[in-house]
Symmetry: C3
Subunit: 463 residues, 3 copies
């Protein structure tokens, strides 16, 4: 007879190098602790998956000639974010702090010694995927014109400094009474402000300094739509982000407890209502049920519920999400009118709806609205904006003045894929330029990209 | 030293607004309850992900010019389904009922009060993703010719009424002795009938009333293949559905218990066997190992095992899945011969194989086959057909007579993406028409779509 | 009032046909066992998802004309693998063995009787997805020129014999003291050698015997890049593989215990460092930050940490992953110089980095480096190579001599999608040939594929 049954747990452990022994008779508290690990880490995996979601949304909403560049940036900000948050960020965010301003230990996961309590590892794993979420939001707003090397520098700085320091103000306090915002009672359960607004305001600074893409605004100053090149990818990205949020919000308990049900339902309600809010708004305005706006509505609802997912009712979640969905449409149109070119709407989705969600956590608080709480939320929202926008602005200005932030006009025209990466995302497909002409295939000499040779309208005229 | 370790659980809870206190010394039963929450909600997240799977399968199996429309419908039926099932459906399905016909309370999740037992929320979350699965099945069968606004109405009605009322007959009884089918001993563990056949028979009614796509049947009445435009998306969709089913079937325990292993294995066996069954069949018939049929074989196997996943052996699961794979091929060919145009095979996969799976749960019952059980299964299958097909037929007829169900021939020719949504799914790609001509790029004037100007064969003739 | 709350567990169980009764008062050990099931099966689902990841990476890295074929092979090796591992492989790998060479019972999951302890089912589910991972690695290296029917035969043999027998030598011993490599103390926690090198060396044998794709090496013998046709799919595939690895490595505990945190962090560290290692290397060599190499860097890091994920520190994981990232670039270039055509770099990623990871588990052992352990690792690496490469070589030679291994040159030129499957992956898109010409649409007569008629350069010259 086979002898594998019942021994598996022992087996798993026998590989641990003897550092662990199986408690033949664990206590219920020990099992609950194990469950907390399992839940927190599965949630971390789901939040990690959001990296794929962002990559697809940003790729789908921009042009084919920049797809490799967007994918590369999304991959790199997670890789760089992992290393920087391990080396620096986590310590600044959660280390011991005097005065609640900045952590001073725990760098390189130095707290953990093999054989010690591994909770810090589970917690770090959950936090690093949050840090990377904040970082990745920016790439969409700066898409199609940013130098790749400049983006790498930016990624390192947000992961090591901008995100963790603000995060420590809000969340660090939970652990050692240190973060000053947290001590004031700031509610941001899963990061409408800490993650999304921080990402959104960095994105705003970047988009402002970069300036719009060539051709985005006509000579009359009116915005021109530059449609995204792959709607199925964008839609898949939103579905992936939605499931990722089932880790993002409920996982923020970092404990496998009943309360996650409440957070799950609120998260889903707000997303669904965000879809409806955005659809109703854009349909009314443009008379067309636009897919990209509706997809952004889902994200708006999700960002909006993130702060209050644990202290509002399902019905309130519907309201919060619906309003976020309406808001994101007006915000996108407004920012476009300001001639700030944000190709994917990241500032609106994450910055604006993050702020809305943070205020909504006070407005719809199931324990009752108080002016004091609203004031604290407002302070948190304002602080996030001032801190993040200022630092990101300075950072991008320094990059601009030194290594350069934007690619050349020629490279932007040709696409960053060829210019930065020497690669086309779709070499087997016939692509068309914005002027309705067929582009020569990738791999032909660089100059040929500018003389696309099969003009539809000419051909038609010759018929 | 950092002080985050060991405090995390407390931290998570300190954010709950004081409504929860951490049991320093939980009982084993309390930990099991927490595990049930964690498992049920992770399973719900996996089932949610099936929405992405359906969106990709349906998009991949239809034409590029309708991709935005399909994605939009898949997004909308989940958003609308969430709100309708919250407001109405869940109460009809699981509320208190006299006589087992229809629930009468629990609307708007009114059972739950903040601070109360949140199980109803976890349970609702798992049920809403099932409801949305039934709804989304229909969009594939009605693809490429249905008015977007009509689809929204349909989505609301299936989520609020058609699905929940039948669901209550089969599953409501489990909770309060109410559903008449459940009381008879109807076996449908995870919904071969309740979810899949219901979706499939709605799809049949819709496809029948809509009529075939233009060009689907030649002047001689013979079916013409209209190939799907993106096989990688379709294949990815099937992989996503497969993993989603690991939530769908084992999650239907709504408890984190050993039995999920048995259900996992059965689910996987049937899917694999479905692939082999469909491949063998189509290869024999057409002499080519066709990808789209084989992908449908995986889904057929999964639908087929859904009813009996908890009461048949792994070997029986292989048989059930293989037969489902064979069946789906013949069913697709047969329905095509009836001139019912179901672009993705939804009626065959979900309707026919759902019925097969429900009968198979009796035929392969590990506790022995009985005529009585088979009769009950047959009754359930027949009831689902009569209820669902009739209601859906009436519904679509009403929509047809009032707001209209089908787009104009002109819009159908141009594609619903431009006509309904003002957007192209792939604006950077050169697309070709069904007549082998290059289409002018999106954004050119509407009329130009009809005069695609680069005729391959002409060009060749001129060489 | 609704009566669903609190009854759900009972409900789930009431469907089990009476074979299970709910322990009203479970012990903590029973709850831990349930948690082990939940974790192991969720991990299995994540590893299953890697099938989608491999399918996308391989599809994205090859040409559009072979996409259907690659997807089909990825689907089939999982379907066939499931059935073969159930019928034969699992018994050979984990059955009772005399001498540690080969298991002799447990075929068709015969150990399990309904109502018995279902652990063997959970364990099988986790193992079958590992087996399928080894099998699927090969399809990438043999892409774009292998006969579909030949691939089916190969899939059956690796799943039934090659993988399980070697796997039993390394892992079978854990369960019943049988596997001779395991008894020597071979460290391969999650399968750098057992899964990845085995897959990689099969891939090497296949690529060698097949020979390069037409056009891969110029008349001067220098390699020519054949770029992959869809970078977003490839990148998505890597993200999916990355999340899948959070099941692959931590799930190998097959127990829901604290140690998974350590493994999660190590896995993520190595992947991130692999990205950086590969990027730095390729950027230095070619002066361009190449996406496909960087994506392979992530996979290299993941493969590299798989053996030692449970016995090295996070800092060591960074080193292991970074070195793997460097290694994979040089290995790809080296294998290309040997004129072995591996379209996706599978031999380098899985074979070479798998070997590296296995040695690294001794080099970076947190409990200290010993020559003896290093020797055992080396023995394991060498054994895997000799066993796998030899058998795979013989197998492919037999296939070649009997049914044929490679498609005709004509079919290779036209693409395997049309030749083998009668289907195009992208019928609505205008595709271009490698010579920069537009291809006629799918569905036109076969011969037309060879006379693509719109030559860009000609058109340009005529302007």
């Amino acid at each position: 007879m086979m002898r594998i049954m019942g021994l598996s747990v022992l087996v798993g452990l026998s590989l641990l190098g003897g550092s662990a022994v199986w408690a033949a008779d664990p206590t219920a508290a020990e099992v609950q602790t194990n469950l907390n690990y399992v839940w927190t880490l599965i949630a971390a995996a789901l939040v990690f998956f959001m990296q794929a979601g962002f990559a697809l949304v940003e790729t789908g909403f921009t042009r084919a000639k920049n797809a490799v560049n967007i994918l590369m940036k999304n991959l790199m900000d997670f890789a760089i974010g992992t290393i920087m948050f391990w080396a620096i960020g986590f310590g600044l965010m959660f280390g011991v702090t005097a005065g609640g301003w900045i952590g001073t230990d725990g760098f390189f996961l130095s707290e953990y010694k093999p054989g010690g309590d591994p909770w810090v590892l589970a917690f770090w794993m959950f936090q690093v995927v949050f840090c990377a979420t904040a970082a990745t939001i920016v790439s969409g707003a700066m898409a199609e014109r940013t130098k790749f090397s400049a983006y790498l520098v930016y990624s390192a700085v947000i992961s090591a400094l901008i995100y963790p320091i603000f995060g420590g103000w809000a969340w660090g306090s939970l652990y050692h009474g240190g973060g000053w915002l947290g001590k004031l009672g700031f509610i941001d359960f899963a990061g409408s402000t800490v993650v999304h607004s921080v990402g959104g305001w960095c994105a705003l600074a970047g988009a402002l300094i970069l300036g719009p893409r060539i051709g985005k605004y006509g000579k009359d100053g009116r915005p021109r739509a530059i449609p995204g090149h792959n709607m199925p990818l964008a839609a898949l990205g939103v579905f992936i982000l939605w499931i990722g949020w089932f880790g993002f919000n409920p996982g923020s308990t970092t404990a496998g407890i009943k309360d996650i049900a409440w957070i799950f339902v609120n998260t889903n309600m707000a997303a669904a209502a965000g879809v409806l809010g955005a659809l109703a708004t854009i349909w009314t305005i443009t008379k067309k049920p636009d897919l990209s706006m509706t997809l952004n509505g889902a994200l708006a609802g999700l960002v909006g519920i993130t702060a209050g997912c644990n202290n509002v009712t399902p019905a309130s979640s519907v309201a919060i999400g619906f309003i976020a969905g309406v808001l994101v449409v007006f915000s996108v149109l407004f920012i476009d009118r300001l001639r700030i070119d944000d190709p994917v709407g990241a500032v609106s989705v994450h910055g604006v709806c993050g702020a809305w969600g943070t205020l909504a956590a006070a407005i719809f608080n199931a324990e009752g609205f108080t002016i004091h709480q609203f004031g604290v939320q407002l302070l948190g929202v304002a602080t996030a904006f001032v801190w993040t926008f200022s630092l990101a602005f300075i950072l991008f200005k320094i990059i601009q003045a030194t290594m350069g932030l934007r690619v050349s006009a020629e490279e932007e025209f040709e696409g960053l894929d060829v210019g930065e990466h020497g690669l086309s995302a779709y070499p087997d497909f016939a692509l068309i330029s914005e002027h309705g002409t067929l582009l020569p295939p990738a791999g032909t000499a660089k100059g040929e990209y500018r003389t696309a040779n099969l003009e539809y309208r000419t051909a038609e005229a010759n018929k």
